[in-house]
Amino acid sequence: MINLKKKSQTLILLVLVIILSINTDFFKKLYEVISWKFDLRIAKNYGYCHGESVGWLFDIKSKYQINDNPKIVNYNHEPSLDWTIINTKNINQKSNKVILLNYPGPELIQNLSKVDDNLFILRDLYFFLDKFDKIKNIELLSRSNEGKKINWTINIYNFDKFNKINNIKTLKVKDSFDTRLKINLDINLNEFDINQTKLYFEIYKNNGEKLEDLRVNIELKNKYILENFQIIDNSAKGNTDENLSEGCYYVEQI
């Protein structure tokens, strides 16, 4: 009787352990740990050359024995990646090499978040400040205004730390509208404070009409132009497509 009780108790414990194993995906993960190397698991969890791209960073760190702490510029909005290649003995050394992750090419088209019919926001402004030199253009997209002659005002502003409005640029636009309209902006991003988080774009028709289907993009000019660097390695090395510019690059200033 005692033996039976002990057996049933062991069985209950075993069932609970199995439930815990299933709940934590134990068997699948055990298979991964046994059959996949650490680097492969890192690439799977962090991405090889997408997202945080830690897989590629670990690869080039061991391939080139990187120990001079090159700057890492990730064009995807992710936490700092310094931890992946940092060398604590030379922690404050300035390197002339740069690692560019998820490189978008010389320009990036960024769409703005719509707050209401007239107001659009570039969020996380600080993220763009160390990667892009300036906002080249603003692009307006609308179907309802196709073929119309427009008379609009674009007002670009942000707020300082005391919540005071800071007007950056005001444009009066008089043009005929196709489905899209590109307007030159030329706003220098070096003038912004790193603590500023948002840039507001207020767009309205001068006759007070609503702009219901309006979408807005901006074109940003990259600080890092590949022609100005010598490419040491890139994630697509060996790829014969010469036009390929997107990807991850380990470069040195010429």
Binding site: L16, I86, I91
Partner: protein, 437 residues
């Protein structure tokens, strides 16, 4: 396969920390009742963690002594268990202890080995600090790191110690020490002795099942404070019922570790010291000695960090936290009221997301309505009041956008604080139907 075998090996390396320096089977040292040998295992863990803390502040790099440390521990273990006393039978008799514990550790460890991602703070601070130790540098070299004074170093040191100890040097082996401390803390609060107990085992596995979340082991330090608070809450219970004043000493040792894990560790430690001082069952002399001893430990920490970085202040680091006297002086009723209006809903939201925290509060409410409140319940109630005071003060006096601060940190603050309620919840489950002791 080698990684898997190394995970098994590291469990036994960690396990030795529970078995030495005090023999868990037949020690009369620092404990009155021999049968409560699980308590001795917890004392051993605290002693060894404090030894590692001392090693972390000496100016010698980890790689020059960690293997020697392991060898000494191994031979000492052989000596006290197999040469001085032949206790193979005791190990066989109590085999459930390492086996249940090992199975749970293995399940979590495999999860950590597979997931691998690090938390935000781990990437910015703790991992890089670990690298300092790993790359043959010492504590005092961390001042070269721009975020060096943000958060104390002990968690990073443990991480680096076990990372560098293993033949395959992979970072997560260091983090498995966090898994070990966590698993042991829950095992300890669920069991009274090494004797196999079906009900306690069920509670232990259920708690892991409810609680487990990989994020806790992503290199963040909250899990260490949580685990120590869980162990220390049981010490407060034992202090009353086993009437063994040495528990006060071990509470101080636990508090000492907590202040070296995170800046806010000082608040948790001060709350525990205050609890020790207001407990009616602790002799006056013990209270005085404990408080003096703890204050000396705070001064030691300050001296070490003064040496480490000239910019540090008394009690807490002067940089690396969003608090300043200037901001506090400029606070007015309107700002405080606005902050409280935001703190309350977030606090309620995150409270309901933490099973130990909400269960602990509900149990305290229930027990406080009973006629004869026990000293332990009084002690827990004081903790609850001080803990809430701390949470409100932390956010009211914080010079940071309040909603952002609440969204990014309050969940972890509640999780850390909930460690002290774990024993209350477990004890209630174990005594369900009976009156709480």
């Amino acid at each position: 396969m080698i990684e898997f075998l190394q995970i098994i090996l590291i469990f036994f390396i960690f396990f030795i920390l529970l078995l030495v320096p005090i023999n868990i089977f037949n020690s009369n040292l620092l404990i009155k009742e021999n049968k409560l040998n699980l308590n001795i295992a917890s004392f051993n863990l605290l002693i060894n963690c404090n030894i590692l803390l001392l090693l972390s502040i000496i100016p010698i790099s980890i790689n020059s002594y960690n293997f020697l440390y392991l060898i000494i521990y191994f031979f000492y273990f052989i000596y006290i268990y197999f040469i001085k006393n032949n206790q193979l039978q005791d190990f066989k008799k109590n085999s459930f202890f390492p086996s249940t514990f090992f199975i749970i550790f293995l399940i979590i460890a495999i999860n950590v080995a597979s997931e691998l991602t690090l938390g935000w703070d781990a990437k910015y601070f703790y991992y890089i600090k670990s690298l300092f130790f790993l790359e043959n540098q010492i504590l005092y070299d961390i001042k070269k790191f721009v975020f060096g004074t943000w958060h104390p170093h002990l968690g990073s040191y443990y991480w680096a110690f076990y990372w560098s100890l293993m033949p395959l040097k992979i970072e997560y082996f260091g983090r498995l020490f966090y898994v070990f401390i966590f698993t042991f803390s829950l095992f300890y609060v669920c069991h009274d002795s090494l004797k196999n107990n079906f009900k306690n085992n069920i509670i232990f596995i259920l708690l892991i099942l409810i609680f487990y979340n990989y994020e806790r082991f992503s290199g963040l330090q909250e899990i260490l404070i949580f685990s120590l608070l869980a162990i220390l809450s049981k010490y407060f219970f034992n202090l009353k019922y086993l009437k063994d004043k040495y528990y006060a000493l071990y509470i101080i040792m636990g508090c000492n570790l907590i202040i070296w894990f995170k800046v806010e560790g000082i608040v948790y430690s001060l709350i525990l010291i205050l609890l020790l001082n207001v407990s009616s069952y602790v002799p006056k002399k013990t209270k005085i000695y404990s408080t003096i001893f703890f204050l000396l430990l705070i001064i030691l920490k300050n001296i070490v960090y003064q040496f480490f970085n000239e910019q540090t202040n008394f009690l807490i680091e002067s940089v690396g936290h969003p608090y300043s006297l200037e901001y506090i002086y400029n606070l007015n009723v309107h700002i405080i009221f606005d902050k409280i209006k935001l703190i309350i809903p977030y606090l309620i939201f995150y409270t309901f997301h933490n099973i130990f925290f909400i269960a602990g509060i509900l149990l305290l409410l229930m027990f406080n309505f009973e006629k004869n409140r026990t000293d332990f319940i009084k002690c827990m109630t004081i903790y609850f009041i001080l803990n809430f005071t701390f949470i409100f003060s932390a956010y009211i006096f914080r010079d940071m956008e309040i909603e952002f601060a609440l969204k990014t940190t309050l969940e972890r603050v509640i999780f850390t604080s909930s460690g002290f309620y774990v024993f209350l919840v477990v004890n209630f489950m174990r005594n369900f139907g009976k009156k709480l002791n």
